[in-house]
């Protein structure tokens, strides 16, 4: 495994207790979900679309308010926070989205700089102005994902894979301790998936950032996860190591009709 070994002694990064979410439409997206993530882990959340993966990730940084249960991030109870305390905690949590969610009409550099909004001067930031050392750091973040030469371009000029890398350096700009990645490669060409995943892996391995990443492609899961939790219809149905993910488990998560992208991935595991 390429990821750093996680000792049992390492501290707890995220603890989720009996988390539940019912949307106003009456849909129960999450139900009684509990698990713990240790610092330095690359945890993959597995499940069909609509199984609650996105809702789960968004409940962690409170983009969605859970209906019940509690979420702790680095010992702070996220579910008890509001206002500036919540914003301060969010600064430690970078988020990467399936649709990149860049400000399309802003430059690549401005998009990266927006990762520093939480610690900057409010009035100054409203005029898109940032401290010189933040600009230096933003350029360094861009260089990390190999896009240093694209800093002045409008974000929507870049390809999907490049846009997602800009989004990664925006997250990096926050100097986060935890990265939430919501299907980060699902809207990318399959050939480009590893180029994006490898950058997320590097944050985990080299910077020691904890990663919680939702994925549905079983080959990617095997390649990058250090641990897996699986959701089905909003409930946690399986928890284990990548090596323990066999065909039977796969069908339990995805249903009997599902077929893994390549059957070989299970053969190799044995």
């Amino acid at each position: 495994m390429s990821a750093a070994p996680v000792s049992a002694a390492s501290r707890e990064a995220v603890r989720i207790e009996n988390l539940g979410k019912t949307f106003p439409s009456g849909v129960r997206a999450l139900d009684q979900v509990s698990f713990t993530v240790r610092e330095g882990e690359f945890l993959v959340v597995l499940g069909l679309s609509g199984s609650g993966k996105s809702t789960l990730l968004r409940c962690i940084n409170r983009l969605i308010d859970p209906s019940d249960g509690r979420v702790f991030v680095f010992g702070t109870e996220m579910t008890a926070l509001s206002g500036s305390a919540l914003r301060a905690s969010r600064r430690e949590i970078g988020m990467i989205f399936q649709q990149f969610n860049l400000v399309k009409r802003h430059t690549v550099l401005d998009n990266v700089l927006s990762g520093a909004l939480g610690r900057g001067h409010l009035l100054r930031s409203l005029f898109l102005s940032f401290a010189p050392d933040e600009v230096v750091f933003a350029r360094a973040c861009l260089a990390r994902v190999g896009l240093a030469d694209r800093a002045g371009e409008r974000a929507d000029r870049l390809s999907g894979g490049q846009q997602q890398r800009v989004a990664i350096s925006r997250a990096l700009m926050q100097r986060p301790r935890l990265i939430l990645a919501d299907e980060p490669v699902a809207s990318l060409d399959p050939a480009l998936r590893h180029s994006v995943m490898r950058h997320i892996e590097a944050l985990n391995r080299d910077e020691g950032m904890t990663v919680i990443c939702s994925l549905h492609d079983i080959d990617l899961v095997r390649r990058y996860a250090t641990r897996i939790v699986a959701l089905k219809a909003g409930q946690l149905v399986w928890e284990g190591l990548p090596g323990q993910l066999d065909a039977a488990t796969f069908h339990a998560i995805y249903g009997e009709d599902a077929e893994p992208a390549s059957n070989q991935s299970f053969e190799e595991a044995r």
């Binding site: 968004r58 940084n61 983009l63 500036s84 914003r87 301060a88 905690s89 969010r90 600064r91 949590i93 970078g94 988020m95 989205f97 649709q99 990149f100 969610n101 860049l102 400000v103 399309k104 009409r105 802003h106 927006s114 990762g115 520093a116 909004l117 939480g118 610690r119 409010l122 930031s125 409203l126 989004a167 925006r170 700009m173 926050q174 939430l180």
Partner: protein, 361 residues
């Protein structure tokens, strides 16, 4: 568990029933009043002056109360027996068309006949009320010829004054638009549904803003001009204020609708960085709405140029201010000059604004 549910649906049913009957009553009352109006007009009844009654006099003397009562009884009866005689228009509107009538042609349902009769009567009633007179229209053309000849032979005597006031007109429109932009920009965030769902105060602000803006928009700029003339006196400033307030209302509507149609993804992404709500608006919303805002603003400036040419009719400054007395005095040559100047300006602004919008958006 089940009893409160039945109560709610029972209340809801009663409300729907009331809506249906009120709607039908209104429609039937209107229909009956139109019948009575036709009846009085064609019976040759004479009014107080001994002449045939005018439409206004007839309107004053219709039997509103009686017919409303009759209509209420009829509406109630129609809704009691709708299974036998067909669904009423009110019921179809409130509850939707019943299945057994869905594929019938209009002339196979009572409702179809009712609506057909309603439209037909509206036309004949309109003819009487607006005093349509085809005979005069076709035979008395001569009087208008003077005006048209004047328009075709513009006089040069007002050209200089007209041009000067034209400058005032264009700047009047410009100032009204310029003052409206910042106000409309700020207010539009309160009038956008997607940004005002998170608290009771925000929802209240939304409802309040929408209501006030709808009211402001419902009143025409010429009426606003009269209000502001009594406030700041006759002159171009009153015109600026009148166009300003109506521009705010219309821009807020257009701006807030484009805010409502943004992609919320960037807002989530900015919020996730720990940014404050103002920063979320600045980075997640504003960049997305700038192109439509520009387009709507230029469109509004275009409308304001048109409006500013006639705002002077009531004393709001601009070229309309010298046009009105010349129309009253019958100086058709001078009127012709001014009308041509206005047409030229409006056409020019139209072209310019279309070009600018093409470039920016």
């Amino acid at each position: 568990m089940s009893s409160p549910t039945t109560d709610i649906s029972g209340v809801r049913k009663a409300v729907l029933r009331l809506q249906t009957v009120l709607l039908d009553t209104t429609l039937i009352t209107t229909l009956l009043l139109m019948v009575e109006l036709q009846w009085v007009a064609f019976s040759g009844k004479r009014g107080g002056t001994g002449l045939l009654m005018t439409a206004e006099e007839i309107l004053k003397n219709l039997s509103y109360g009686t017919l409303a009562l009759v209509a209420f009884v009829a509406a109630t009866a129609w809704n009691l027996f709708y299974r036998d005689i067909g669904c009423s228009p009110g019921r179809a509107w409130v509850r939707g068309e019943p299945e057994w009538e869905r594929d019938l042609p209009w002339h196979h349902t009572l409702r179809g006949w009712f609506i057909a009769l309603f439209i037909e009567l509206s036309f004949f009633t309109g003819w009487l009320i607006t005093e349509v007179d085809l005979g005069t229209f076709l035979t008395k053309f001569g009087k208008a010829w003077d005006i048209i000849r004047g328009l075709l032979h513009p006089s040069g005597s007002v050209l200089e004054q007209g041009l000067i006031l034209l400058v005032q007109t264009v700047f009047l429109a410009f100032m009204a638009t310029a003052f409206a932009i910042p106000a409309a920009f700020l207010i539009s965030f309160l009038a956008a549904r997607n940004l005002t769902r998170h608290s009771a105060i925000a929802r209240l602000a939304y409802t309040l803003t929408r209501t006030v803006m709808n009211f402001v928009r419902a009143v025409e700029p010429l009426v606003w001009a009269l209000i502001f003339i009594s406030w700041v006196g006759i002159g171009p400033f009153a015109g600026v204020l009148a166009l300003w307030i109506t521009s705010i209302a219309s821009l807020v509507k257009l701006y807030s609708e484009s805010i409502e149609s943004i992609d919320t993804g960037p807002m989530d992404a900015i919020a996730a960085t720990g940014a404050s709500y103002l920063q979320v608006l600045r980075y997640g919303v504003v960049p997305q709405v700038i192109p439509p805002f520009l387009s709507f603003t230029i469109y509004r400036w275009d409308i304001n140029v048109r409006m500013s040419t006639i705002i002077g009719f009531v004393g709001g400054g601009g070229i309309g201010y010298i046009l009105k007395p010349r129309v009253d005095l019958g100086e058709w040559g001078e009127v012709g000059t001014l009308v041509l100047l206005i047409a030229l300006t409006v056409w020019l602004m139209d072209v310019v604004s279309a070009k600018i919008r093409e470039r920016i958006v």
